[in-house]
């Protein structure tokens, strides 16, 4: 695409790499690598935001870029790594679908989201409007990541990557959300991860595993327990 300025080309490259990273997350089964991929995604987001801030001269984007750097590249991955070490979860179990199958679904999702984003891109007036489709694709791919995983840890990584996608979407559609919203979202994510970290320990204590599959059988178990107590009473 000669003719487009270099910084826009770099931004497009960042967008393409974000999409690629989402696919890498979809394929990755090692939780540690998953967290590293998330950190890389954050770093790309940081670079993209800086480029956009430099291009548009909007000062609040610098602030949100450094917020991204502090939160998504440094703090959250550190926290997740620490959780992984303490919970000893290094591998996700076999995903619900095999990897080539997941990839094909991912490709369909990308085609769908590109189609979905077309009218939005047509309405947007930003220079990065082409990347909206990629942002939607990143969000939906993170959804797929969450759906195909069983372990709580990988689902949280999928959740965080979805937030990255939303952030990128807001950035490319309207040059970022208002600062107050961005702070709110950042705080939300932070608190969510902290709370989920506590949840991990609770889940593991209850079921000896981080497999969310166990959570589905909660009701049946309580019904069973009820019948048992009823039987005891009869005796």
């Amino acid at each position: 695409m000669p003719g487009t300025p270099l910084d826009l080309q770099l931004l497009n490259l960042c967008a393409a790499l974000l999409l690629l990273l989402s696919f890498a997350m979809l394929a990755q089964r090692r939780v540690v690598t998953l967290v590293n991929l998330l950190a890389t995604q954050g770093a790309l987001l940081f670079i993209a935001t800086l480029l956009l801030a430099w291009r548009t001269g909007e000062h609040h984007l610098y602030l949100s870029a450094f917020l991204t750097l502090a939160l998504k590249v440094v703090f959250l991955p550190w926290l997740l790594h620490r959780l992984i070490r303490r919970l000893q979860v290094y591998w996700d179990t076999e995903p619900l679908l095999n990897i080539p199958g997941t990839m094909l679904i991912g490709l369909l999702v990308v085609v769908f989201s590109f189609g979905l984003a077309q009218p939005i891109s047509a309405l947007a007036s930003t220079a990065t409007r082409n990347a909206i489709g990629i942002a939607v694709a990143v969000v939906l791919l993170s959804f797929v990541t969450m759906i195909t995983r069983r372990k709580a840890m990988s689902q949280v990584v999928g959740f965080l990557s979805m937030e990255n996608g939303l952030f990128f979407g807001a950035m490319s559609a309207t040059y970022g959300m208002p600062m107050i919203v961005e702070f709110g979202v950042a705080l939300d994510v932070l608190v969510a991860v902290l709370v989920l970290g506590i949840f991990f320990f609770q889940i593991r204590e209850q079921f000896d595993s981080l497999d969310l599959h166990h959570l589905e059988s909660l009701r049946e178990r309580s019904a069973q327990a009820d019948s048992q107590t009823a039987a005891l009473k009869e005796h």
Partner: protein, 316 residues
Amino acid sequence: MRPIEIVTQALELVAALAAAPLFLGWVNRCRAWLQNRRAPSLWLPYRTLRKLFFKDAVIAETASPLFRIAPYVVFGAMVVAAGIIPSMGTRLPFTVAADAIALVGLLATARVFLALAAMDIGTAFGTLGARREMMVGFLAEPALLMVIFVASLISATTALPAITENLATQSLGLYPSLAFTAVAFTLVLLAENARIPIDNPATHLELTMIHEAMALEYSARHLALMEWASALKLFNYACIGFALFVPWGVSTGSSSPLALAASIPLLAVKLTVAGAGLAVIETVSAKLRVFRAPEFLATAFLFAVLGLLVHLLLGG
């Protein structure tokens, strides 16, 4: 048709035929260096070919005529492919006959004959190798086609020389789509040429071999043609890669003799670097189980399709 074009065409064919074994020797030499082994001579592939050509051929009793003609068909297909790929100049008289999609078809023809010949004798190894080759082939071909489609979309043509000319002459830009397809192409190259993550060219271990299993029943001149054809295939793939992703240095437009002369050392440099790179990839990666091959090639297909989608969305 100007004389310079005919000279370019002839030069390309001769260079492909002559340099293909050398390229294979260079890759083997780099691999040996990286693995701390004593490297074989660069001329070893030539000596092997010479030795094989002077031997008497032994053919199985059950072989049909197909078995005899297959080496010539495979070798011929590879030579024609070498004539179509613009490795030195883009004004080639041959290329009006076939575009990039036909080139993929030509490579597929060679594969089909190779597989049929392997099954012809009826030995277990030949059939096994042929089936594996077809499995790898049917997964690798769509990925290769996607790679070519991306380059075609950028240049708005499917003729390989026109694509190369377009990519070489336009101003430099960042193409995420081309970067993705370059990765996809590298994966396809490894799979199609029986290189390490899919097949080990240096082994005759029956459980893992693919390409060697198919050539097992051949001897003497037939085997020589098969070996030469597989060296040519690697050379051709490398040149397709150069034509799509490193097109600079190929003499374009109304090619002058000077530009043509300059393109020869440049091609040599590209091949040297690519051979070393291939050796590095092969050394750092481990051979995959045969059943993991679809996953490997699905990744290649994914990269190629992502390149296509990114091109459609970002326009570059």
